[in-house]
Structure formats: C-alpha cells, structure tokens
Amino acid sequence: MSLPLHERSLGQLAAGLRAREFSSRELATHYLGRIARLDPGLNSLVTTCAEDALAAADAADARLARGDGGPLTGLPLIHKDIFCTQGVRTSCGSRMLDTFVAPYDATVVARLKAAGTVMLGKANMDEFAMGSSNETSWYGPVRNPWDPDRVPGGSSGGSAAAVAARLAPVATGTDTGGSIRQPAALCGLTGIKPTYGRVSRWGMIAFASSLDQGGPLARSAQDAALVLQAVAGYDPHDSTSVDAPVPEYAATLDDGIAGLRVGLPKEYFGEGLDPKVRHSVETAIAELRRLGAQTVEISLANTALAVPTYYVVAPAECSSNLARYDGVRYGHRCADPKDLSDLYERSRAEGFGAEVKRRILIGTYVLSAGYYDAYYLKAQQLRQLISEDFRRAFAEVDVIAGPTSPTTAFRLGEKAGDPVTMYLSDIYTIAANLAGLPAMSLPAEPVGGLPVGLQLMGNYFAEARLLNVAHRLQEATDWHRRVPPGCE
C-alpha cells in the first residue's frame, strides 16, 4: 500500500500492524517525527511523551505478536490535556496546574490504554476548556494548520490542530458548549459529542459538570466510531454516567439512509450565518437528499436563548468547580503568602487567566443571594424549554442538520478582545449541551481554502445513527479527505 502511514485510517493502520507491514513502534516513531517537525509551528501539544509512547508501542507490539489485542491495539493518539494521565502532567491549559501530575488515569484514558493505544502526548487547549479559539491557554495559542494566522477553534483546539496536521490519527476532546464540534469544523475533522452520560467524566477535569462530555476528534466517522466504542459505557466512578448497553457502532455505519428524516432548523440558517458557510452546508444537505434522505424545515424556537442560558449555567458550575484550586494542596501557590486570604487571592490571581476569572466572577454573581432566582433558576427553566424544542423536533425527524459554526476559522486575535462576539461563535453548538443530546461535526465543502463543518444532532443515545449518516455522506464525498497545505 503506497498511502503514507499518516494518511491511513485507524482500520487500515490496525490491518497494517496485524499484517506485520509495520510495527507499533515504527508507527509511533513516524508520528513523533511529524510532531517534532510540524508542531513547533502549531503549538498543538503541551507535552510530548516520546519515551512512554515507545514503551507503550513495544508493549502493543508484544500483544499483537501473541495474537492478542483489539481494533485499537498499537494505534497512536493524543489526549486533550484535560484528561488526567497517571504520571504525566495534566495542566488543563492553565498555569494553575502547570506542575500537576495526576496519580490516576481518567476513565477515557484508562479504557483507551487498556485497548492498547499509544499516547503520543497531551494537547493544548483553552484554559480549563473555557474558550472557542484556543487563545486562552497558558501555553499560548494554537495555530490552525489550514492557515497559521487563524485559530483552530476551541477549547479542543490542540486536539483538532494535531489531528488535522496528521500528528496523530485521532485525539480525544471534550465538549461543554461545542468544544469538540467547533474546532472539528474549523480544522476539517469529524468530531462527536456523545449524549450526556454516555462517556464517563471521571478524571476529566470539570468545567461545567452538567454539560461536559468527552469524545473523539478524528478524520472520519468510521475512525470516530472506533474510538467512541472504546470509551463509551457506564462507569461506577461517575454517578451521571448512564448504565445502558452501548451498541456496536461499526455494525450500522453502512446502513442505508433512504427515507431518513432530516430536520433543518430555520433558526440555524438565519442572520449571523456567513452566506458562504451556508452554501457549503446546504450543499452537504443536498448530498444527503441525493442519498435518499428527506429534509423538512423545523423550528427550534428557543435557539436564541441558548447562548445566554449557557453563560449562566456554565459559569455558575465553573465558579464552584474551580474553587478547589486554592494553592493549598496542589497546583500553583503564590510566593510567601502572608496569611490565608493572601494565599487564596494571589494564588488564584496568578494561577488563572483572564477568561477563567471572568467566568468565575459571572458564576459567583449568578449564584449569589438575591440573584440566584433571577439568573440561575431562570437559566434552568430556559434549559427545560430548549430541551422541549428538541423533544418536539425529534418526534418528527430522525436527525437535525445545520452549520456547526457561523463562520470559518477566524484570525488570531480577531475576537479575543470581545467576549460576547466570541461566545456567539458557539451559537449552534451550545443547545445540544444544554439538552444533553449527541451531536457531531463533519466536514462540508471548504470555503476559500478553509474547512466548514456540517453539524448533525440526534436524539438521546442516537450516536450510532449520527455516525451512520456521517459515514454514508463521507462515502459519497471527499471533503473529509482534504489535507492542510504542508501536512501531506
């Protein structure tokens, strides 16, 4: 096979390993070489684990030699630096955790480790996953492989840039308001945010607990399905994980989509959507129709409330989740604190960046006595209304399709000074988190050399359906096969 290793799918790589065409060590070495060559221009990784990766690759080779192992054994990947990895620094993109080494693995990490994957490194990210551009990281911004002057999206921007630049065949990410889907869209990848509760949050550093979900960023729905298969499922360490069987995602990827009812929410195609992005998304939808799907216009009437609702709920939870970073037990501690207040104030002032502080302040405010009812409780009510919109919609349609992001990748610094404009870049992704629904982004036709994302949303636990629709579309198109310049 003449395809270079870094252009092969997970299935092709696994087949190559089993056929002894190459070893896991050779595969890891190949990717580590690309990381060394290309990542300095991208800043997509905060930690590279060459030595550990080679050791893990050798172990995988030994397993494979015994005829042991599964579909992911020996395959390299990158974990977002929000997942705790035993013995390897987990910074969460923050100065606060610059020196933090977790004594345990996140469930996502542990399951992928048990499957025999080889961790190449930890991906850069917006600080504590708060951001849509990867500009809030303590380790500096990540650049988009399609155009280094542009952002890769966020908060899983490092994961997205790394996979787009072929520094790993797949990476993990997390999605609180679009943090898998928006960077997938801006970098030309396929990423899925599962149903809330489908993937364990144990060891995944919390931003907003009721919204956070982990999932893969990959180059195809097929690859995403393989990784999701390995991480999905009940975990007794996470009370919010759901104890329900996980379907065999690969088994239904090839199912036909004739007669599939696709809802097109009119609110997702209105003002604010870049006309070129709109055209690209409509082209992808036309392709779905060509494959036999029926489209129907629907309404998600409370769409405009999603962003304001989110910016009450998420900061409220984050203000509490981040209280543990107090300089007492681990993490950043200021020099020579003169008393307890000084220890708290300076450790947190120095350890957190501006966006994190902004959200802690907002969250503290909306939970305060006298404001709780007006903000937090009201936001919970709106969350119900948004969920109701989807419940009604899914009584009529099988999936909902629309744009992932209103624009293609924007320039570094373009929105950094204006939080509200930045927040609005998540206008199409946030609702799925508020409702807890599965949603994914996959490439549509690029615009002006920049990727565009098509978003698919499904009913609760309908990941198999989403992956199936995405896979059929990818079988019929080549948008997801485009490679950023210089990354061939």
């Binding site: 987990t90 607990s209 919010t240 509490s320 543990r324």
Partner: protein
C-alpha cells in the same frame, strides 16, 4: 420567672458507615493524618463523588424512627465557601430537599410527664477535614482523614424551654441513633456533636428573641452548662439595657463560659446550588419499606414491651432500655434464667454497680449475659444463697470463670441437706443458750442473730430458708 428560654438544637451525628459518603476511603477514627483520604477526599482535579448507599439507608431509618416523612426525592447541593480543611471549596450537603422531613420525639420531663419536641428536618452531608494549629510553628497543618465522613444533621424546632429539656432531647436523639446502629454516639471523638441555638424572651411574648448559636459542646453536661451560662448572659445583657447580637459563640468548658466566634455580618453567602455531579436520591415505597423492615425495635416500644412482658415498673423498664446493649443483655438474662424480676435486680444492681465502679460499658462487661444467666440459674435452683451469689459474681468479674466453675472450685455449693443443717443448728443452740432461751420465750428479734450464727458456721453454704425453718421447729414447735 420573668424570662423564658427558647432552645433549638442542631445535632451532627456521624454515620457509622465503613467508608466515606462519597468515596471508598475508610472512616475509622484516629489514623495518622491524611492516611485515610483518597483522591476524592483530596479534591484532586477530575474526581467525582459517588453516594454511599449505606448512608442513605441509615438516614431513612432515622426518619422512620422519628415518624418523619422520608423524601421520595432528595437533592444534594453544594455549599460554597473557602477554607483550607474544605478541599473542594464547597461542602456537599442537602439544602432545599433534605432526605428526612418533619418528625418528632417524646422526652421525659424532670417533674414527670412527657413533652413532644419537633424535628424540623434531617439531611445528609459530608464532614470537613481538620486544621491543626498546634503542631506546626507558624503554620497550619491540614488533616483530611475526616473529610467526606458522612453526617446526618438533625435540626430541631425551637421547642425546648430549659437546659434540662435540651439535654433530655439530645439524649433521646443519642439513644435513637445508637439503637438504630447508625452512629456510635461518641461525643469525645466528635461522632455526636450538638450546637445549641439559644434565645430568651419575656414570658408571655410570642416573638422570638435574637438567638446565638453555641458550638464546641462535647458532652451532655457541657450542653447543659453552656446553655445555662448563655441564658444568664443574655438576660444580664438585656436587663442592663443591651441587646443580644446574632452570632456564633464557642463554649469553653475550662472557663465555663461562651465566647464570640463570628458575628452574622461576617457570614458567608454560601451560593447553594444542586450538585450536578450527583443524581437526586429517589426512593420509592418499596425501597423505604425494605429499609424499615431492617430496623430494630426502638426504645419507646421496647420500654412498653418490657413493662408488659416482664412486669417491670416504668422506671425500671426505662433504665433497662436506656441503651440497646443493656436491653439486649437484660432480655437475654431474663429469658435464660426464667425470672425477669431477678434478672432486672441483678442488671440494675450488682452489674450496674460493678460497671460503674470500673468505668466500663455493658458491651465490654467481664460478665456477659450468658455468664450472669448461669449465676442466676444457680441462685434459683438453690445451689447458691444470695450472699454466695454475690461472692461468685465478684469472682466471675475477676475472671475466674463461669459460675459453675467457681462453685465447683471453691466448694460453695449451698447445703440443703436437712441432716447437715440440723447438726449445725444444734451446735449453735448449744453455744448460745441465752439467745435460744429468749427465742423460746417468744422474742422473735433474736431469730436473725441465730440464723446469722448458723450461716457463719456453715461458711455461708447453708440454705437460709431451711435454717429458719429448722430453728423454728427446734425452739418454738417443741
């Protein structure tokens, strides 16, 4: 009296689970600092709480025991504040939807009669760690062993009107949680903590006065004294034209006074909100019924049954049911020896005295229920006299073995052989002709003296009833 005291108590009962409320770390007391704190208790990044089902079961039994409605749905909330021994920066507690709703208990009043005290609610929460200020010069140590220990916070209505009532209520709750086996009740180790809300008002007023909250009370005696002190302080203050400030006050047992700790103006805004990491606790009728079915008999029911079944006075039944251990002990002995009255006398008499003398709990009494049963059987079948039984009991207490073994080893078997006793009686009559003459003349008072002489001569082994009978026969009937 011109002033009326109004008291409400908040009791924190540490639940006797093996592991913590949201982690698998052990809860045992007294381990080296931070050896019983896992990643969850340390609040490392990425960890999540998982509710201990045993803590829920225990809370439900308490709710059932006070006749409260157990919530079909209760919710854990986060109470947010910064403190070094609070690792997450919030305490997981229950706020708007506690697991146990309104209930009540009956307390016995000093002057006789009973009073019903309302329990507003009881909720589950986690304990914080400890700050150690003494051990490190110029620094504070943090021990997180206690962090995450399950607590049931039991909040009363302001129904108590005197320190004695407050103590009676606290004792009642203490007795209940120990009966239920949900708390070891150890106040010294902090397993059972009482905070008292105290206010005073002019008698006849229907408005509550400003209250203070008393903390750091680790015995029932201190509870009574702390409230007593505080009431006097508040009355003095008001009578001298001052006003009570709503604040938290610490009781100092060494000085027997309360001191201001923090005033309400400095109070935190705790920013409670439902904990998104934990699902609501949902219990249906069957869940609750299954838990209630595992509950032991409660003290009030047991006391009434003892009165009926064993023909005990209310007072005796109360003493014998004070703790579950005492009640179980008594009941085993009563059934084993077949004489409840005898068992009650021994448990409340010799046994209680010995326990008291040695400062022991009945659970680690050197003479267990089976041992005492063995002794009382020998008393009932006439093998031992009452006097000998006391000696045997003392020997059993000293660890010399069972009643039968001691009787055997010491040759203490009571002499009931008429011939042998007659021989001793004859000797005693011969040796005490004056007294024998007086008895013959109808002076009954010397009977006791003569019986005593016979008992002495037999080294206590003679059956006293027989001695009596034989003396009468020989001196009066002849």
């Amino acid at each position: 009296m011109e002033w009326e005291t109004v008291i409400g108590l908040e009791i924190h009962a540490q639940l006797a689970t093996r592991s913590k409320i949201f982690s698998g770390a052990p809860t045992a007391f007294g381990a080296a600092p931070n050896t019983q704190a896992c990643e969850i208790d340390l609040a490392l990044p990425g960890v999540l709480p998982v509710l201990n089902a045993e803590a829920v079961r225990m809370a439900v039994t308490f709710g059932a025991a006070i006749g409260a409605a157990v919530a079909r749905r209760s919710v854990f909330a986060r109470k947010n504040y910064f403190y070094p021994d609070l690792p997450k920066g919030y305490q997981i507690s229950q706020y708007e939807q506690p697991i146990v709703g309104r209930g009540q208990v009956e307390i016995a009043l000093d002057g006789g009669g009973t009073k019903t005290v309302g329990v507003t609610r009881a909720h589950l929460e986690e304990d914080a760690g400890k700050s150690l200020h003494e051990d490190f010069h110029g620094m504070t140590g943090i021990d997180l062993n206690r962090a995450g220990t399950p607590l049931l916070e039991i909040v009363s209505e302001p129904d108590m009107r005197s320190p004695a009532e407050a103590v009676a209520y606290a004792r009642k709750i203490h007795q209940l949680v120990r009966y239920l086996g949900i708390c070891d009740g150890n106040m010294q180790e902090g397993s059972f903590r009482c905070d008292a809300n105290v206010s005073v008002r002019r008698r006849g007023s229907d408005r509550l006065g400003t209250r203070t909250e008393l903390k750091n009370i680790n015995s029932f005696r201190f509870l009574e004294r702390a409230i007593q002190y505080e009431v006097e302080r508040q009355v003095d203050l008001i009578e001298n034209g001052g006003a009570v400030v709503q604040e938290t006050r610490l009781y100092d047992p060494a000085r027997d006074e309360t001191r201001s700790m923090r005033s309400k103006e400095e109070a935190n805004d705790y920013r409670y909100f439902p904990d998104p990491d934990l699902l609501p606790v949902v219990l249906d009728e069957d869940d609750i019924a299954a838990i209630v079915a595992t509950m032991p008999e409660l003290p009030d029911a047991k006391r009434e049954r003892f009165e009926r079944a064993y023909q005990l006075s209310a007072y005796d039944a109360g003493l014998l049911t004070a703790t579950r251990e005492t009640a179980d002990y008594f009941e085993a002995v009563a059934q084993g020896c077949g004489d409840a009255k005898l068992a009650a006398n021994w448990v409340m008499g010799d046994l209680a005295a010995a326990l008291n003398r040695d400062g022991r709990e009945i659970a680690d009494s050197p003479v267990d229920a089976m041992g005492l049963t063995g002794l009382l059987q020998r008393l009932r079948d006439g093998t031992l006299s009452g006097k000998l039984a006391k000696d045997v009991f003392a020997a059993m207490w000293a660890g010399e073995g069972s009643a039968d073994a001691i009787i055997e080893a010491r040759g203490l078997r009571q002499v009931s052989d008429v011939g042998a006793i007659e021989a001793i009686v004859d000797q005693v009559i011969a040796a005490n002709p004056d007294q024998a003459g007086q008895l013959r003349a109808g002076k009954d008072k010397v009977m006791g003296f003569l019986v005593g002489q016979v008992m002495k001569a037999s080294q206590g082994k003679a059956n006293p009833a027989q001695v009596n009978e034989i003396l009468r026969r020989k001196l009066l009937d002849s």
